[in-house]
Each structure stands twice: as C-alpha cells, then as structure tokens.
Symmetry: C2
Subunit: 268 residues, 2 copies
Amino acid sequence: MTIHRHLITGFSNPAVKAARSLREKKHRKREGRFLAEGLRLLTEAREAGIVPEALWLGQQRDPHPLVDALEAAVVAAGGTIYETTSDILSKISGKENPQTVLGVFADLPTSLDALDRGRSGIWLVAQSMRDPGNLGTMLRTCDAVGAGGLILVDQCVDPFSVEAVRASMGAVFTVPVAQADWGEFLRWLRAGPGQLVGTSLNTSFDYRGADYGTPCFLLIGNEAQGLPPAYEAECDLLVKIPMLGKADSLNAAVAAAVMAYEVLARQS
Amino acid sequence: MTIHRHLITGFSNPAVKAARSLREKKHRKREGRFLAEGLRLLTEAREAGIVPEALWLGQQRDPHPLVDALEAAVVAAGGTIYETTSDILSKISGKENPQTVLGVFADLPTSLDALDRGRSGIWLVAQSMRDPGNLGTMLRTCDAVGAGGLILVDQCVDPFSVEAVRASMGAVFTVPVAQADWGEFLRWLRAGPGQLVGTSLNTSFDYRGADYGTPCFLLIGNEAQGLPPAYEAECDLLVKIPMLGKADSLNAAVAAAVMAYEVLARQS
C-alpha cells in the first residue's frame, strides 16, 4: 500500500492554496470538496464512516489516540496526510488560533432522491435560510431529535461552508441534507406520505394543541421574511408559536427546535 | 432649544473615531456606551423609551417616517444628530453595506438589584456564555416567552457587543439584563422565591414531566463545558432534554428556548 504523507512548510505550496480556497463557496462548488476543522468534528465524521480525502495535522499537536485513529482511517482509504506548521494551518483556516487537525472532504450527497422518508417521523425543511450558523444549528437539532434530515428549499446558504459545518458540531456528517427548489420539493413530498407543517403569524392555532402526522415535515421560513404566502398555502397545517413580547418572531433555528421537540414529544 | 446637528465628511473626525471604537469591548467599557445598527433596532429602542445619545444618518438614506420619529426623539432628548457619507458609516460599522441608521447608546443597567423578580414566572440564566449570537438569541427568546430577563453569570460575552445587539433583534432594549458572579447570583436568588432549574446529562428526569415552580430560573451552561458539577448541585431541579442522536448537547440558545417554551406552556 502506498502511503501518501507529506511535510509542507511553504505557504505557496499548491496543496495549501487548494485547501485554503475551500473557504469560498465558488471554489467548493468547483472542487466538489469542503473543509472541516477540529478533532471532534473529524471524529464524528469518522464514526459515521466518512473519511477525509486529505488530513492536515499541525506539527505541534499533542499525541492523541483519536488523531491516530483518524490517520489510520485516512491511510486505509488511500487518502493523503499533510503535516504542516501552525502558521500554514492559520492560513488555511483563516483563524489566529487554528485547530491542529483539519480535513478536506468530498461533497456529501444532497439529492432528494437519496432521502428515505421512512427513516424518521420528523424532518426539517428550511426555506431560503441565509445564516450559516442557523443552518448548522438546525443540523445539530436534527441529530438531537432523531430527524430524518434537513431539506434546504430555494436559495439557502451552503451547508458545507466552514461556519455551517462548525455550528453543526459534526451533525453535517450524520444528518442527511438535501437541496431542492420549492417545486421539486413539493413533487417529492406529495409522492409519498407526509404532513407539511408551517409556523405562521397568520393563524391562531397554537403549536401545542396541534395534531401532528407521521412523518411530519416542519417548514421554517427565511430569517427576515418568514414563509411566502404561497408556501403557507401549501401547508397541511399552520401553527403559531406564542410570542408574548414586542417582537413577532423567534430566531429561525430556535423556532425549528421548539417545533421539533413538540412533535417529538407528541409522537412518542 | 439647541439642536445639535452636524455634517461629517472627514474620516479623521473624532466623532467617527469614537463611534467606531465602540466595536471593541475595551472601548465600550471605557466610554460606557454601545452601538446599535439599523432602523428596526433603533425603533425597538425608541418604543421602549430608550433614545441614542447620538444618531448617525446616511446622506443617501430614503425618507422614512420612522427615521423622522427617531430624529425627533433624539432632538427632544438633547442628543446629537450626525449626517454622514456611506463610506464613513461603513468605517464605523465595519461592514461593506452599512445600515443607514446607527445609534450610540449609553450603557443599560446590568445590576441584579435592578431586577423585579415578580415581573415574570420565567427567567433565563446563562453561565459563561461565550458566543454573542447565542446571547442575543437568548434575549430574543426572553422577549418571546415574556421572561423577566437574562442573568449573565460569571464571565459571559458582552451583551452590548454589536453581534449580540444584532442577534437580539432589539430585545436588548426590552429585556432586562443583569451580570453577576455565581456567588452574587445565588445570594440574590435565595433572598426570595424562585426555583433554579438546570439542564443536565446527569439525570434521567425528562424536561416534559417536571414540576416547574414560579418564578422558574432556567440555568444554561457554557457552550463547550455545560454546567460545572458544583453549579448543578445548587439546582433545585435537574432535567434532561432528550438527545436521540450522536451528539450529547444542543446549541445553548436552542436548549434555553426549548426549556423556556416548556415552562411557559406548563405555567399557562
């Protein structure tokens, strides 16, 4: 077996430039790869059976059995291991105090057809989600409630951005993600069982008293605009989360979680 | 009445430097002031009776009755109005596309003694919260559930940072915030009625079946470490939010909201 192991100390090395470029969406799209940082995230990936194509390790790292396990998995998969300086890790990650473990992963599938709707009674559907932190947090919530996956409808932020991957705390590797436009999603949804539930200000029906079906698809609208009226009209059920204060909405990831835990409790 | 209105076109104007410096915590502490951006946030503030000491307006702004109302409120309070260029607003806010309305506010009170515990049956208590987005989101949730306020225990991120203020969507102006160390908080808490509830992995007691008191103080631990054991030991009740996936925790602001909405429903 050939082992691909390199020591890189030069900032202008093409591998450094290629890894660093993955912080930008256009390069991720072109390369079909994304970055994930930190031993915790990469271990989540490994335990989910997902191994980076390239593993970057800081020379100053402390020995750790989980790093050894990662190295072994990358070598076994025919991947490449780069040892490098803290300064170069900073350059790749764009952070002053970079993680000492960093992985370059091949894109994960994001096709609706790859989803198994029988996998869970709860799914999250985000429409035009703009904030990578919200998207990553929703993935983390999907993991926690045992949701089947996160479906991104219309133009959402990239689920494989460094910020979304970080906020997911590794859930990007364990929770299926799909991307589709609204029409594609509706056709897929209506081709099988499933209740589409929207949260809305245009109803007086409290989310606690609602009759949730299985599987239940929880539709969360864009952070600034909420759901378009035409999308609300397609919902099988509209519910309202009580808002007792001055504002008329919750953070999108918070609303998704409050709904998801309610559905989880009612389906249990 | 003297009206303080200035046109500023020079980047080196001391007022520009002073406003810009408020993006950094050390300058906020020294000046006792903070920044808030955008017509929506400043209108939330005005409706809560809080008017900026200085109002910055972009020369290219569109006319808007809410801007007129802000100007009138600042003038009536003896504050200063600066008209300036889009480039200078960019410099102050650090953003390429700055909001055309920006306010410099005097610090809001953050003393425990200023809190009225009879104001609400729900309070959020964050311990060593590190992320300004989480803090702002928790303020927004406080507003939504009608919580009495947010109590920041130990070294938390600054609630008046630009990021926290933005994530709060204006709730920083409507939700009381207090800062205290753990000992101070406990003394204050135990001097009156109140149940301290912690979320923990070290209990099998589901949050849905728990017996919440009034007022109920929901204690949320640091994003990475959770609550220290000694803090858990002080809780009157420990509950667990179900975690069905690979990870062992939710985003801190999400956990706070799931708990707060459960308590709200049970107290209703």
